[in-house]
Amino acid sequence: MTSPQDSVHPYAHPYIPNAVPAVRQAMLEEIGATGVEDFYADIPDGIRLHRPLDLPAPLRSEAELTRHMEELLARNTSTRQALSFLGSGCYQHHVPAVVDEVVNRSEFLTAYAGEPYEDHGRFQALWEYQSMMAELLDVEIVNVPVYDGFQASGTALRMAGRITGRRRVLVATAIDTDKLSRIRDYVRPDHEVTVVPVDPETGCADLEAVREALAAGDTAAVYADTPSALGIVDEALPRLAELAHDAGALYVVGCNPLTLGVLAPPSAYGADIACGDIQPLGLHQSFGGGNAGFIATRDEERLVAEYPSRLFGLVPTTVEGEYGFGDVAYERTSFALREEGKEWVGTAAALHGIGAGVYLALMGPQGMREIGETILSLTAYARRCLAEVPGIEVPYGDALHFADFTIRYTGGRTAAEIRAELKERGIFGGTPTGTHEASFCVTEVHTRSDIDRLAATLKEIVK
């Protein structure tokens, strides 16, 4: 075993100033310790690692590290290098430069759990995020972001379960299989999830089947996604609210907040809890690492009491005219009550909330309306355009689609084969959703000519 006193640090690592031998020695002397080993006296020898960790030799300099990382990054092809039509829960949108400027500020990037007195800016920025999301969602309560939209949906359903005291959860629209996996796992101790299949022709909710499922009773929540996993904005969304409420259940709607400059917020058609992912609001794709979740409700005590997450509130300070901030109903949380709190709260995705707030402030009502219109228009155009390609059918004809949509290949080739050929031609897209079905996505970053190129390329490939 290397005794720590004997550890040789031939250089003080730039991240570890007190590894300078003379400094280290002086500190030990001041404490009156013979070596660092004195401080490890409680760790039994039997569980000590009597050898160095078997790790690659360090990349000693920043230059060497950069060179190494550069080699790894060169093995990725980004969606800026290819023409990408990938969506399905992670979206390629333009991120305004000001968003990056703000979230990359050291003061925000490296802060953590400061108090309002040294981290006033964090509290105000997150409270303003909550407030702007509240305007977008037409509610009064929005939480500090949770990990992602999957978590937000799972928690929203558990909130509905705690409020109603009931067991069943009905999913009424097409749902992403990974999201469903997460929800099933998360609500498992208390709830059973029933997915009511959508009408295979329209891709929309099967209201009769939902009504039948509700007749069995004990339903805590009816859950819908908009757009659904098929990209559909379902005309039945308001009817689902009525069915849920008639059965004494809450209506929980997962929505893409980027649609809400044009489309009605869930609260407008009866949702009790809205939830979703803010990745589309100015967060980079980052290989799926840029997600963050929101939960939103009316300002009712019984609803607020069930949030596990932090809710920042605006309060006065001892000086007239100052805005102070703090945690609303902190005693709900597991920080205060451990296992008696609601679910849990910990480090989640706060900075993404600040980023989304900057995005909403930049966009304003006009920007949000325009981006929604642009995407709706381009999605409809892409569907029309691809429907004209021989060998392609575009199902769910009449349904309104936003960003994501499905196509079906009617020739012999599989969706996987066609996707591979698209990639060879510099186009990412056509994620298989079945043997002959594939999902594509368009956003405001796409032009009409991008879509024309996709159609022309598919024309060559699809036989």
């Binding site: 570890i16 360090p58 500020r105 802060a111 953590y112 108090e115 709260v345 900075l351």
Partner: protein, 533 residues
């Protein structure tokens, strides 16, 4: 034209600048910044977006699904948005600007700037998770390699980097424990999880969320987790022990192997919360003490920025026996081709813990951090963090009013939970008051997690990032506040004096009639405005 300066005679006395005071004269930025809703004016724009091509037409939106009124978002020009947020950033301290040792249990260490550059590169930032594997070999390689590094650091057999943060990793471990017992037909029987009061609240809360009954062990007289209480708690209903070691007191439990053995003998699993791993990197490993699962907080131990409370990233490490239950997909290396692929075909998996594969930017940063340090650097980080901690302990325990409860005479690992009980008894001031006064010296101080098992607690964790001078300065700040508490308590009682704002009056936060989570709620409830803006 510049004025000419005729030489004048100045005495050295007049030219002399006084040395800096022992404690810095700090003033936090205070812009008296308005709320964003009070800025801008109708019609202003912060950014333009590509307009819809009129020739493409617009699809019909069903009336009930069309937005009736535009959202009342701010309308601001770009520079106004930037200025507002930059002012808010200046009213925020950030670990880069202060000696952030006062946020104990959170391992506030330096996040190297070069690592931020990697994640801003479009070849990370603009990668889509559903791209073909051959177009993302670099990032899959980083994820796979980071897993290998964490396997060695923990001693475990498999690692998943999918969880969204530390608490999500705790939850993931609990979900795997649940799946493990369900697969063995013991799911109904093993419904209890044991944890300790000094473990992070999320251990108890995650276990409860996953459907377990929680049993909490309190410390014995010396501050170690009570082994007799553990013996009394274990039994056929025990699913797992969730424990932090060293605990948030900084005390390492020397009987940790015995704890693990007792739980294993009862048929339970042992999961190691390694939120406090920073002081033991390369010294001892979860596997060496017999654990079945562990997790790391990459934003703590592996230096990814804390980001105002996330995004963070979690890592779960497990033995081969638990590996089938890991979240899917896993990243696999084909040894023949050297290619990485995603394996979604894992029938016993607990499923997805978050969308896609993990908080990738933080995985990249953690990978780069470990690669820049290597085994020797990790050990130097651990040893230096522990040295810094015991150095600070040596300084702080000399301050009047402070005590170091439990395990008298024993060293601490990477942090210490102190108590200001004596100072409180003498002056009536609370630990929170000291924290508020600390803000006046340009630094952050947090008390501790609830419940306050240690009266008037303060947890300091210096990590390896701070210099000796930093530690001296932090100790001097605390000493000065303690002096004030005894000699001039009003200054402490009314702090902060040099912050962005003064003390909040928090009463409104707990009353449904006045709590205001949004601008519109504030306007309705407090300002009495009817309707919307």
């Amino acid at each position: 034209m510049t004025a000419s300066h005729a030489p004048v005679s100045v005495s050295p006395e007049e030219a002399r600048i006084a040395g800096k005071p022992r404690l810095r004269r700090f003033q936090q930025a205070s812009w008296d910044e308005k709320l964003i809703f009070e800025l801008g004016s109708p019609g202003e724009r912060g950014v333009l977006v590509p307009a819809a091509d009129p020739s493409l037409g617009m699809p019909a939106i069903p009336a009930a699904l069309r937005r009736a009124e535009p959202p009342a978002l701010p309308e601001m020009s770009q520079q106004q948005v930037l200025r507002h947020y930059l002012r808010l950033s200046q009213e925020n301290l950030g670990a880069d600007l202060n000696i952030d040792v006062g946020q104990g249990t959170c391992t506030m260490k330096y996040s190297p700037k070069v690592n931020d550059q990697f994640v801003r590169d479009p070849r990370i930032a603009a990668l889509h998770p559903l791209q073909d594997e051959d177009t993302v070999q670099g990032v899959l390689g980083i994820i796979h390699s980071l897993e290998q590094l964490l396997k060695e650091i923990s001693g475990m057999d498999r690692v998943s980097l999918q969880p969204g943060a530390g608490s999500a990793a705790i939850y993931t471990n609990v979900a795997m424990i649940r799946a493990y017992f369900a697969a063995r037909g013991e799911g109904e029987q093993r419904d209890e999880v044991i944890t300790t009061i000094f473990s992070h609240p999320s251990n108890a809360a995650c276990a409860k969320t996953a459907g377990f009954k929680v049993i909490t062990l309190h410390p014995d007289a010396d501050g170690y987790p009570d082994i007799e209480a553990l013996r009394a708690a274990v039994g056929p209903r025990t699913a797992a022990l969730l424990i932090t070691n060293p605990e948030d007191t900084g005390i390492y439990n020397p009987r940790i192997e015995e704890f693990v053995r007792i739980v294993h003998e009862a048929g339970g699993l042992c999961s190691y919360d390694q939120a406090n791993a920073n002081g033991i990197l390369g010294i001892t490993r979860a596997r060496d003490a017999g654990f079945d699962l562990c997790h790391f907080n990459l934003h703590k131990t592996f230096s990814t920025p804390h980001a105002c409370g996330g995004p963070a990233a979690g890592a779960c490490a497990v033995t081969e026996e638990l590996a089938p239950y890991l979240p899917r997909p896993t990243v696999e290396l084909d040894p023949e081709t050297g290619a990485y692929r995603l394996d979604d075909d894992r029938p016993e998996s607990v499923g997805k813990m978050r969308p896609f594969y993990g908080v990738v930017p933080n995985l990249v940063r953690a990978y780069a951090w470990i690669m820049s340090l290597g085994a020797e650097g990790l050990r130097a980080a651990a040893e230096t963090a522990v040295l810094n901690n015991n150095y600070l302990l040596h300084k702080v325990r000399q301050i009047p009013g402070v005590s170091v409860p439990y395990a008298a005479g024993r060293p601490r690992v990477e942090q210490v939970r102190y108590s200001w009980e004596k100072l409180h008894e003498d002056t009536g001031l609370h630990s929170e008051d000291i924290g508020l006064r600390a803000a006046d010296f340009g630094t952050h101080y947090w008390t501790s997690h609830h419940p306050y098992v240690v009266p008037e607690p303060m947890t300091l964790e210096p990590t390896e990032s701070y210099t000796r001078a930093d530690l001296d300065e932090y100790a001097a700040i605390l000493a000065e506040i303690a002096r004030e508490a005894y000699e001039d308590p009003e200054t402490v009682r009314t702090a902060p004096h040099r912050s962005t704002i003064h003390r909040v009056r928090p009463q409104a936060l707990d009353d449904p009639a006045t709590w205001a989570v949004s601008w519109r709620a504030y306007r309705r409830k407090v300002l009495g405005e009817a309707g919307r803006r």
